[in-house]
Amino acid sequence: MRIFLKVWRQASPDAQGRFVDYTAEDVSPDMSFLEMLDVVNERLIMQGEDPIAFDSDCREGICGTCGFMVSGIAHGPDPGTTVCQLHMRRFKDGMRLTLEPWRARAFQVLKDLVVDRSAFDRIIQAGGYTSVNVGGAPDGNAVLVGKTASDKAMDSAACIGCGACVAACKNASAALFTSAKISQMALLPQGQVERFQRVVKMVDRHDEEGFGSCSNEGECEAVCPKEIPITNIARMNREYFRALLFSRD
């Protein structure tokens, strides 16, 4: 297969970026998208050029490090798939693809397709944990959690923090990420103690980082590699409303 790429190249955060055309030759349909880029980069290195920078780590869709826009869709056209798990058999010989970094005020482009997602870390630091000392680990069966709640908490906890939700949202909102991180706590007994402070602090931090608000279009859910549902956002809004009415802190 031969694939024509139009890739965003930007040397540093402050440098002026631009699109550069590349041709990926001899692409095997069994290659992952990132392996295809590895091949392009090998050639660039041989020619003494700067390889295309992109993030990746596990390459098996579980760490959340990889991610960029493939022709206007975060992580590319396959639902529930990170770009490291996207395979070239998905594309046709001779196709033209545009590769762009996530774009948001809160995600500065560091180099080419790599963006700074530390804003997510700061949202977690604002309250995505429990700080109360609960003593030693209780017996597994002593703290009862309903099946529905535990399933939903687990589904929310599946978020790998890749940033695709922000990238896909027309408002560059991190509502899906933030709400998943709030939900995994709000649904479980361990999350109850700081429940109200948590939602207010995390939403505050989300706003300070410069993310937008949710217009309920659900583009985030559609591109999310872990298919986190936007019912999490409804839960976050509910938690926030409750904090507004009942918080005594």
């Binding site: 869709i73 639902p79 408002n171 949710c214 583009e219 409804a234």
Partner: protein, 223 residues
């Protein structure tokens, strides 16, 4: 925690709670407005009696002020929210595609600010034409306004008929995304009903905007 209500309501989530609550309240108002005005189909007397009962009710002034407030909060919040959201992505994508799959993005959801602003302009004209429009007495009862006649007068002009039909269809487009979106914003989440919300949003939008559009068309063709 230092969280005076005002600061909280200006957060992204607080803002959307307000837009959702006011939007849904306006939607409920619209249902009542449509039901009352559908009395035009029942004839001159029924319509005028209803209109008179409405404006002679002592509660009408506080209710009107409340309604105005709903509009002002909705419009103010929706516009500031829109501007802030634009700022959240200073650099646009060269290429951006519809994500497909479970996305609910639609023409309606992408044009909320446009349909909203056109509706606001329409409402000013609409209130001027009716509430503050030509005043006629009914023959039977000197203290009763013949609003029916005002309505027949306005809708004898094909320009106004077309204008009203267009405006009500835009209200429908606003509601097609708005109803489901409003419920989601205020935190509604049910294992079964949430999934049907988008469908109900469409059905209700069609009923409301179809019903509202039917009035000028009916008046034009029967008078």
């Amino acid at each position: 925690m230092s969280s005076p209500i005002r600061r909280v309501l200006s957060s992204t989530v607080g803002t959307k709670l307000l837009i959702g609550l006011t939007g849904l309240a306006l939607f409920v108002y619209l249902i009542i407005h449509l039901a009352g005005n559908a009395l035009i189909f029942a004839g001159q007397d029924a319509f005028n009696v209803y209109a008179h009962a409405l404006i002679s009710n002592p509660l009408i002034i506080p209710l009107e002020i409340g309604l105005l407030l709903l509009f002002l909060v909705h419009i103010y919040k929706a516009i500031t929210n829109y501007v802030k959201n634009l700022a959240a992505r200073p650099e646009a994508y060269d290429k951006k595609a519809y994500a497909g799959h479970t996305s609910r993005k639609s023409v309606a959801s992408s044009t909320m600010i446009v349909t909203g602003i056109i509706v606001a302009v329409f409402l000013i004209i609409h209130v001027k034409q009716f509430k503050f429009g030509s005043y006629y007495q009914t023959v039977a009862d000197a203290g009763v306004r013949d609003l029916y006649r005002t309505e027949i007068e306005v809708f004898s002009n094909p320009f106004w008929v077309a204008f009203y039909v267009m405006a009500t269809l835009l209200v429908g487009l606003h509601l097609r995304h708005g109803i489901a979106s409003g419920f989601q914003s205020i935190g509604f989440d049910h294992p079964m009903y949430t999934r049907r919300l988008t469908m109900w949003s469409l059905v209700l939008a069609v009923i409301i905007s179809g019903g509202l559009a039917a009035i000028p068309v009916w008046v034009y063709f029967t008078h």
